[in-house]
Symmetry: C4
Subunit: 247 residues, 4 copies
């Protein structure tokens, strides 16, 4: 019984994966468009809102279906806290678009090595995180009185200077909502940039290590073992030679 | 004699560990509350001061008892300099709350791997360091004339931009006391963020290394050793065959 | 046929490599000179423009010749996208000078280890990236109304504070062109500084590892193998001794 | 001949090492004192200048003596470029005090491990670099018209925010000399902080690696080798058993 439930759950995820990825990408469009285009006709703004709600219902239904199919309900809830957070907090919604990046990364799994794959994923995640943060901070700051982020150019420049931790201070969020976006960008940016450094370091340790270890390692124990073996062979040789002369 | 003293010392630490952890957490509350709630009734402010002094006496007595139980007094003093610093300098007091984090980390030791444990500990330490620094800098800056940190929101935002080394410069300490808090936050933050990068790097080195080494390693010396052994076996085979035909 | 085409391509690259390196270095001069020397006589400015165009034609012809010599055209285009980007976008042109650094690094390959070589290359790349960015940002900002980068001193100081991610905010680009230069400097700077950290980390892992592993490693399996071999030898010894006494 | 020259050179370095360390520490004092104490009586300022010149003559004479004792003059000059730079450029002089830190590190070599030693050295170097930079930037900025570093407090705070790459921008050098000090601090700071991260990473790779590798490594080739050896032993056993029954 449990096995067949788990199987049905896997089948469901395989079949809906592409639909949900498309929904996440579409969400990015309907979220960003009205913010980036402030003079969008009311009709389009309304259409975007409707699409937004529809996409959200889709994710909500998907969550409930997966919960129903899960062999162990409490375990599913515990293992899918990010899904729940994304449904509950409007501010975290854009993060859902990372699902598309994950799907793309899964496509590339066959043709690239593990490190190349991770690097591609991280570069994609940095780009997406930067873009979503820039849009979200613009949404928060544009209406504020003393804000200094008034256009998407300002917001994008702020995102780049923040994710690289340069932080000139020529543009920065002033509203509470904008500052929360900034906190997310900083925390995410540090993790991602740290991952790039880590990938570089692992590449170094391996290549430099392999090159320099090749000659220098000289494992004494292996050498001792080989010497022991050679001695054994000589001894065996002599014994057989003696055997022959004895006869 | 020495062994029984050392045993009594361990028993004492095991029994008081939870009391002192509770005291450290309570200290965090009575330290932060009057600062975060400037309009707290005088009665509560007074109660917090009394609790503060009581907690401090607890830690002082604990230090003296452990000193008395220690097999070697000078060695105990040398190995517990942080405990002494925390008792002597009021500014370092909030650091004592990290004892609670350590205790929590110890609880988790059984169920998580070493790396997961370290990561959880570091994330907890970053959160605690940031919160304590924000409270301490607010305490130092609120009364100053030209200060730009006037609310806990300002202080928390300053702490995040500092620990991530972004440093916009929209909020920064201006008093000497506030600058010392900033120095502590920067030094601690660098160490903690460096630890996160290091954990990522170690994870990479291991997983990528294991994946790529699996096929490629080709240890020439082991191959040579195996060939040597095969030759020995052939030789032995032939010798025995010869033995038999000889007879 | 394919082999001879590929051979001709390699011969062509070997013969023109030095010419193109010289052209890249010369490009750096004719690009930077009119910007750094605003009162340069018109004749020289014109000469620099002509040289610039000539160098660009050289790179364009080189690209076409290599494309013609390539065994597989689509593969060549796919593998040489940076070459195409440099030809198409004027802003990326200075990056071409990195070819000279690569050539220098190739010269040094014989006398230095891999890590020393990488370090030298990265230090060279940081210097070149910083210089080119400073020149490019000065070119973009000098004419702007509210710009704060007005001299090469300002631009160089800005480049250093940006590549180190300090970012005081006393000088920063204000024009769109200048901000793109800044984005390039930040992205490139992070990668290069990450490489330095990675090189340090790999050096550490190896040296510290080697020193501490030397005694402590105790490979149980090798020890077991050696014990097995010693037992085999004893057994063989006894057998031969028995053989002799039997006779 | 060469061997005795090289021996004399080593003897000279061993005997003068402590004198030169003392001179470097004294230099730090006579360099920093007149800057930190602007109202120092003229007599003391004069004494500091004299001491400064004397120390410099000492280092100059030391360089010449070591050059005279060196077996190969051109090689000595090539290997001791930092010594020459320190003699030639007044701005680099404070760096000489790092010799004292090196000497202290050498003292500690016996009692600490390699990683502990490196960490202690780096922490010492960061402290020294920060202090010297703060003094040097104060010297450069104090007299400037629009400078914002006017006291040692300002300068020390600037040094901390710079070495941690936070860079609020509340204090920064405005003079050319001060900016060169800043460049030195940033470059040195990045290298040193990178070393701390690298030390953490190497510690992680080793401890986490050792813990997780312990059970999982399972080197297939060693296992194969051991099986081969066991087979050999069985074969030998059987052969000897056959030998005995034959007779």
């Amino acid at each position: 019984m449990v096995s067949s439930t788990s199987e049905r759950s896997a089948t469901y995820e395989r079949r809906t994966s592409w639909l949900l990825t498309a929904a996440a990408v579409l969400f990015l469009v309907v979220y960003a468009w009205p913010i980036l285009q402030p003079d969008l006709p009311t009709g389009w703004v309304h259409a975007c809102s409707v699409a937004n709600v529809t996409i959200w219902t889709t994710f909500g239904v998907d969550y409930l279906v997966r919960l129903a199919l899960a062999p162990s309900k409490p375990r599913f809830v515990r293992d899918h806290i990010p899904d729940l957070l994304v449904l509950a907090l409007p501010l975290l919604r854009p993060l859902r678009a990372l699902r598309a990046a994950t799907a793309l990364a899964r496509l590339g799994r066959a043709s690239m090595g593990f490190r190349g794959q991770t690097t591609a994923y991280v570069v994609g995640a940095v780009g997406l995180l930067g873009f979503v943060s820039a849009v979200a901070v613009l949404d928060a700051e544009r209406g504020a009185a003393n804000a200094n982020i008034k256009s998407f150019g300002d917001a994008a420049w702020w995102a780049v200077t923040t994710i690289t931790t340069v932080g000139y201070g020529d543009h920065f969020p002033t509203t509470v909502q904008g500052k929360w976006v900034g906190v997310g960008l900083m925390v995410g940016g540090i993790a991602l940039v740290g991952t790039i450094t880590a990938a570089l370091a692992s590449w170094f340790v391996e290549h430099v290590g392999a090159a320099e270890r090749a000659g220098a390692q000289a494992p004494d124990q292996l050498a001792a073992l080989t010497a022991e073996l050679a001695a054994l062979r000589t001894q065996l040789n002599n014994a057989q030679a003696g055997d022959r002369t004895d006869r």
